[in-house]
């Protein structure tokens, strides 16, 4: 009681102008911090984009603003064969680049699709039915799947190198997609289990009463409701597999090489061919940057699955 009285006095002692000043100062601080971090988050992206249209002089003199401090030129894109003037001419570097880009697209999408199918099925089963396999109950089976997440790639990398050689899967897109599926499967199961747990089990029961089998109930009733979770799981898988470098570097050599491997090989082999590097990096980050802008809410949904009750 006494405390609240004394606090009341403190509040009344403060005049309105003091409050207004405090408010403005806190506003300025908050927006200042927000803008500062926006610059930190976006400048490297801007730097890469702008460097891809700079000439050597503009790079060495540190010019930053196109049209104001330097004249943009398609330099980086021309060396890739992707500038408007080289677009219709044959270009070996463009063929190489497009092959890597296609590999990345095919590998990451097929791995994500496979992971979402396998993961959604498993997560649905684990959220609805009671299993018993040897000594393992649902909890143990879930743990078995999720524990794969802590497996560092280095542990699998070498046995996989040998295994894939025996299976003739080395340097193939299929082989790479399979191992990518494995790496994102725990995350998909994690997200989808959370998603299915939020759907009331009464819906399944109603479907069963209507004469649907458990697969019918899953396919016709539950899956459409769980679609946002599947999109979230797919996008998160896509982010992780598109950016994956470790396995791609070890398990591919020529045919199945993906974009990150191309970026990495360019990094080590050049002097100061910055514009090409910037153009290649731009293409490596652009698809996901666009997805990030357009589908931000699915990424947030995927990341926060299961962490907030």
């Amino acid at each position: 009681m006494a405390v609240s009285v004394s606090l009341d006095r403190v509040v009344t002692h403060r005049s309105d102008t003091q409050f207004a000043v405090l408010r403005i100062v806190s506003r300025v601080l908050i927006y200042g911090a927000l803008i500062l971090w926006t610059i930190i988050a976006l400048f490297p992206i801007y730097w890469t984009l702008s460097t891809s249209v700079k000439s050597a002089v503009d790079i060495t003199q540190g010019h930053l603003w196109p049209w104001l401090t330097f004249q943009p030129d398609w330099k980086g894109w021309r060396s890739l064969g992707l500038s408007p003037d080289t677009f219709f001419q044959p270009s070996p570097s463009r063929d190489e680049f497009l092959a890597r880009f296609t590999n990345s697209v095919v590998t990451s999408i097929s791995a994500s699709v496979l992971a979402v199918i396998l993961g959604a099925l498993a997560a649905y089963g684990l959220s609805r039915f009671q299993y018993k396999f040897l000594w393992m109950r649902n909890k143990d089976i879930s743990f078995f799947f999720l524990s794969q997440l802590i497996l560092p790639p280095v542990v699998l990398a070498l046995p996989f190198l040998v295994l894939y050689r025996e299976l003739a899967l080395l340097d193939t897109t299929v082989g790479l997609a399979l191992i990518y599926t494995l790496t994102v499967l725990p995350i998909v199961i994690w997200i989808m289990r959370d998603q299915f747990n939020t759907i009331p089990i009464e819906l399944d029961e109603a479907a069963l009463v209507d004469g649907l089998s458990s697969w019918g109930a899953f396919w016709h009733i539950i899956l459409p409701i769980a679609l946002p979770g599947m999109v979230a799981a797919f996008i998160l898988s896509e982010v992780l597999t598109w950016n994956e470098y470790f396995f791609a570097a070890l398990l591919t050599s020529t045919d199945a090489k993906t974009l990150p491997v191309l970026v990495a090989s360019q990094t080590s082999s050049q002097g100061i061919n910055w514009w090409t590097m910037a153009a290649v990096s731009t293409t490596a980050i652009a698809p996901l940057a666009i997805i990030g802008i357009v589908l931000e809410r699915y990424i947030v949904k995927g990341l926060t699955a299961g962490s907030v009750k």
Binding site: L34, A41, V154, W215, V239, S281, A284, L303
Partner: protein, 369 residues
Amino acid sequence: MADTTVIAIERRQAARIQGSHPRLGRGLIIAATLLLLAIGLTEALYKAGVTPFGFANWRPVLYVFVIWGVALGVGQVLSRGEAGKRALFVLPAALFTLAIVVFPTVFGLYIAFTDWNLASLSGRHFNGIDNLVALFNDPFFWNAMLNMVYYLLAVLVEYAIAFGLALLLNADIKARKFFRVAFLLPFMLSPVAVSWMVGKSMMEYRYGPLATLMRHLGWRSPSFFSDPWIARIAVEAMDAWVSIPFIMILLLAGLQAMPKEVSEAARIDGANGWQHFWSITFPLMLPVSVTAVVLRIIFKLKLADIVINTTSGGPGGATDTVSSFIFREYHYRSNVGYGTMLAMFYLVVIIVFMTLLLDLTGRFVRRIT
């Protein structure tokens, strides 16, 4: 009316409980298993040089394994009915994971105890615990392990920054959506591309904008990768730049899920921002924080691509992570046996560490809340 429905359901369930063709189902599974064993054995004998016939590689065995998986699924449904159909949900993922994890792990354990070097012509020989002895005497490996400790401690800094950003985004601000997307973007970017964008160009000694900025701030020779500690911080900064958004999003979701009444009550009680944060927000956020930090640690333990592509572990191993160290052992020295032993040892360390960490944090959260 209700009674008839119940009876109908019961009848249908009775038909479902026993499969339609139990013997056919079981026969299918047995036949497929025999086929798998036969093909596998043929190939193993051929590869061992015992029998003259077989396939050029193990690929056919993989196909037969897929057939076996399908037969197992069909057999389950035929023999066990509804229970089989239910098992079918988990079966594909389980078979996939088992096939693709168990073999490499078992095989990895075997090669960890050999002196296999892909570059040497003599093939692989079992060499007992030689690799383990070498591991304990390898200063570079222990150096990498020590670096992992530094990198893991940096997670706390990442967490603090991410918490600050989450609080900012949760404040009463305009254009919240814009800031959220902008803050999230680095998370989407390929670490390999980031290695070039930040590590190789922005931090470049002569022309990089970060180096230029540092010169303006009074650092006369801003070389980011020649001093061990500065190099470590530079690598960590890049990794943090990519992953802070991840922690931030988790914490932001936690902040938004917090009951509004709690902070209202605190404001009426006259708590200032600082007190409010430490006495209310922070304790309430502990469970989310623990999830975020533990997940972040799991990913941190895999850190490799940024190190491989900016410093290759230099200068003098100062930025090496265990993963990047083993990567070089494979990639440049083809030292398969020893590299695998390092990886297996690292896996054991990770499992022990994570078990302890989960146990500890679990108890900590339970005591606080």
